[in-house]
């Protein structure tokens, strides 16, 4: 790695100098007082506020999903335990999976998309601010709708993959699956709109000079993820529609007696489901691809390769779905094809990992909390990736599929990949969002509790799975001899729960009493660090001119940019007005879906008619109408 063939001769500025650079006009005396109060949050179209709301809401659902996990782990502490009933257990693990994927992992990433991407590309907001608010409100209402099932004692109970024909009215007559199928469709609408919004934003709202190959990696991965969202979600939407028709209108899609095919559901679900895995993990890859260079004091090694690897992962991710179906019995030719495609996807993933390590090689690693989380992702994801290689081999998968080995694998990928990455991003961008530094001691405590709790919870699951414990089981027999592994997992889960409390305390405390942060406390290279912390509601007084990949690491460029981005404009840029219609429209959409549950075709039509009202009000509202008429 000693080669200098591509060492640049550009003059990189010293980091001390970047951090010291004091801003002439930086002060807390904004010209424009931000409106406060609950109404201003309900009607906001500001991407930063929406990002914060996404974050808060996903933390709320993380609490619920975590509680479900704790109950599961207590139940499994002993063999043949009767702490909770089989039915409740089935509801808990179904809702744990559904909540963590659709209500925590995806929105948590979207929270970062919202807050960070416009700042990274030098934009004032996303392309469609009101649509952005609509996405959020639909997400919130969809999540609440899904969880409302608990109050009916009918939470979904057919696992997060909801395999047909267990989900048919014949085998699941209750409301459980109704809540699931309709709740997920609502959430799908939100994700598709988010994807459209971010694709447009990233293509169209880059500051002058911000070429695609100059974009920070987080923005790049958001871009790839958004493409996956707009293409993968329609597939699950169709699957859910078919299931809903089967349930509410007695169609034959998954009715085997009429020639319907239960395997069709598996295909549709996983054609969505595998890109979904990358929807979850690519944003985290993006985060650490920004964090690692920032704290290694070195540019990302092989920028182009890392970008293309991400794009390739997103692309190949479409051709591997049947590796979730090796046990279905598709035949050796199909199996071999999906073995090959799945193994191929390991290559770009490996390349990313090597590039991260090469970025750190020869650097001056500043091991603060953000960096520690980023590095731990690299280490943990290797493990999750390698167990993935094991069951990419179809014969081996026949043993591991639907056992706790797989549970261990995907938790290493999702917690070890996505969650650690998101935590890294959280500590990294915390000063930008709040204007205060995160508490390092509490941060490190949070890290170690997370790291230990995570490994203690999920590493033993490799063993319980290897010794034959199937997943989605309410109890296990003592004779399987997996009690000790389950007990370790339960202890680990408690440590994880404690770590979350530490995190929340740290966020609360640091946001209130943390040390004041300068506009670029880390000496980081990308545009979001050129504006004050926290940013003005208009982000950039004027659009900066970008000339390189690390604009703030080149002294000339940095000074030029900061002269624009830190200035106090005489006339503030005009920003769109707050709007009431997104939340009303979101309520209408949710109501329409909920009315499908009545099973009468005209009920949702009423909902549609009601929904049309806010659509028209929205369409004829001028977002830039004079402020006097607006709320505030």
């Amino acid at each position: 790695m000693s080669t200098e063939s591509q060492t640049t001769t550009e003059s990189f500025e010293s980091f001390e100098s970047i951090q010291r650079s004091q801003v002439p006009a930086e002060s807390s005396s904004h010209h424009h007082e931000e409106p406060t109060g609950i109404w201003s949050w309900i009607t906001t179209v500001d991407h930063k506020r929406i990002g914060i709301m996404y974050f808060m809401t996903s933390m709320f659902f993380l609490g619920i999903g975590g509680l479900e996990a704790m109950l599961i782990r207590i139940q499994l502490f002993r063999p043949d335990s009767d702490f909770i009933s089989a039915e409740l257990y089935n509801q808990l693990f179904t809702m744990h999976g559904t909540t963590m994927i659709f209500l925590v992992a995806m929105p948590l990433a979207v929270a970062f998309f919202n807050y960070i991407v416009p700042l990274q590309i030098g934009a004032r907001d996303v392309a469609f601010p009101r649509l952005n608010a609509l996405s959020y409100w639909i997400y919130l209402f969809g999540g609440l709708y899904l969880n409302a099932s608990w109050f009916f004692g009918a939470a979904p109970n057919t696992s997060w993959v909801g395999y047909a024909n267990l989900t048919s009215t014949e085998y699941s007559p209750g409301l459980n699956v109704d809540f699931w199928v309709l709740g997920l469709s609502i959430l799908g609408v939100s994700s598709i709109m988010g994807g459209v919004n971010f694709i447009t934003t990233i293509i169209n709202l880059r500051a002058p000079g911000m070429k695609l190959m100059r974009m920070p990696l987080f923005t790049w991965m958001t871009f790839v993820t958004s493409f996956l969202l707009v293409t993968a979600l329609p597939v699950i939407a169709v699957a859910l529609i078919l299931l809903a028709f089967d349930r509410f209108f007695a169609t034959n899609f998954f009715v085997v007696a009429s020639g319907g095919d239960t395997t069709m559901w598996q295909h549709l679900f996983w054609i969505f489901g595998h890109p979904e895995v990358y929807i979850l993990v690519l944003p985290a890859f993006g985060v650490i691809s920004d964090v690692i260079p920032a704290f290694s004091r070195k540019p990302l090694f092989g920028y182009a390769v890392v970008v293309y690897a991400g794009v390739l992962i997103g692309f190949i991710g479409w051709g591997v779905w049947s590796h979730h179906m090796f046990t279905t019995g598709l035949g050796p030719i199909a199996d071999s094809f999906f073995v090959a495609s799945t193994m191929i996807i390991a290559i770009p993933t490996g390349v990313k990992i090597f590039n991260w390590m090469a970025t750190m090689w020869g650097g001056a690693l500043k091991m603060n909390t953000a960096m520690t989380f980023a590095v731990s992702l690299v280490g943990m994801f290797v493990l999750g990736g390698l167990s993935g290689i094991m069951h990419s081999s179809a014969p081996v998968d026949l043993q591991q599929h639907d056992s706790y080995f797989v549970v261990a694998h995907f938790h290493y990928v999702i917690v070890g990949g996505l969650l650690l990455g998101m935590f890294s991003g959280l500590y990294y961008w915390f000063p930008k969002v709040t204007g205060r530094m995160p508490n390092e001691a509490l941060g490190k405590l949070h890290f170690w509790l997370t790291f230990i709790g995570f490994n203690l919870t999920f590493f033993p699951m490799h063993f319980s799975g290897m010794y034959g414990m199937p997943r989605r089981t309410w109890t296990y027999r003592a004779e399987l001899n997996v009690e000790i592994y389950n007990q370790l997992s339960t202890v680990g889960a408690f440590i994880l729960a404690i770590s979350t409390v530490v995190l929340l305390y740290n966020l609360w405390k640091s946001a209130r009493t943390g040390e004041k942060a300068s506009h670029n406390p880390w000496g980081a290279p990308s545009l979001e660090w050129s504006i004050p912390s926290p940013p003005h509601h208009y982000n950039f007084p004027a659009l900066p001119q970008v000339r390189s990949r690390e604009p703030l690491w080149h002294e000339d460029e940095r000074k030029e940019i900061e002269a624009i981005t830190l200035a106090e404009p005489e006339v503030e840029p005009e920003m769109p007005n707050p709007s009431f219609w997104p939340i009303v429209l979101a309520a209408g959409v949710t109501l329409t879906w909920a009315l499908v549950m009545t099973g009468r075709w005209w009920a949702p039509v009423i909902g549609l008619v009601l929904t049309a009202i806010p659509v028209y009000c929205w369409a004829f509202e001028d977002p830039f109408a004079k402020k006097e008429t607006a709320h505030g």
Partner: protein, 200 residues
């Protein structure tokens, strides 16, 4: 600095590519819709010949009749192009005539579909529940019909706006985007017609 502030005032129209946001966003949405209809059509194709009991497609489809409605929908795309031209050129009369034509043609298509559905139900006793063919056929064409319906409502809205004189050439983009939607729905129907009706 003063320059920057002045620029700031109207640079919410600035885009990196020069493309309008709404247009780009709508293209992205259409991409998403392609996957939606692609999946529905694939489901139909995968379930082809899977029905245990009749009626089967070859018995119920009336190709000449559907060809007429297909032709009407196809022609409505032409009318849409002319309507957009009218709005862009500020010709209220031309815009109204052709938007009206789009609305009428869309309604005719929906009328044909209504006739086809009721005919299938009453003549052949083919409902959503009868067999796999019924389920896949009605859900696919039903969702397409719903898209046409939304399109017609959209066109009516634009028609009223033009009538009120609230659609000057500067706002032609609104009609252009509606046109994108209309053409897309039209193309989807061509695919459906070829794959579902014409290929035995």
């Amino acid at each position: 600095m003063a320059d920057a502030a002045a620029v700031a005032h109207d640079d919410h129209h600035y885009t990196s590519t020069g493309l309008n946001n709404w247009k780009l966003g709508f293209w992205t949405f259409i991409g998403s819709e392609c996957l939606f209809f692609g999946t529905l059509i694939s489901t139909y194709m995968a379930y082809k010949g899977a029905s245990i009991v009749g009626p089967y497609p070859e018995k119920v489809f009336d190709i000449p009749l559907t060809s007429i409605s297909t032709f009407v929908l196809l022609m409505s795309s032409l009318a849409m192009v002319l309507a957009l031209d009218g709005v862009q050129k500020g010709s209220k009369k031309k815009a109204l005539i052709w938007l009206g034509t789009v609305i009428v043609m869309g309604a005719i298509f929906l009328g044909f579909q209504y006739y086809e559905f009721t005919h299938f139900i009453h003549e052949y006793h083919l409902t959503l529940q009868t067999n796999v063919f019924g389920s896949t056929f009605y859900v696919l064409t039903g969702f397409h019909g719903a898209h046409v319906t939304i399109g017609v409502i959209w066109m009516i809205t634009l028609f009223i706006r033009v009538l009120q004189g609230k659609m000057p050439p500067e706002k032609a983009l609104q009609v252009e985007i509606a046109g994108l939607y209309w053409h897309f729905v039209d193309i989807v129907w061509i695919v459906i017609f070829v794959l579902i009706y014409l290929i035995p």
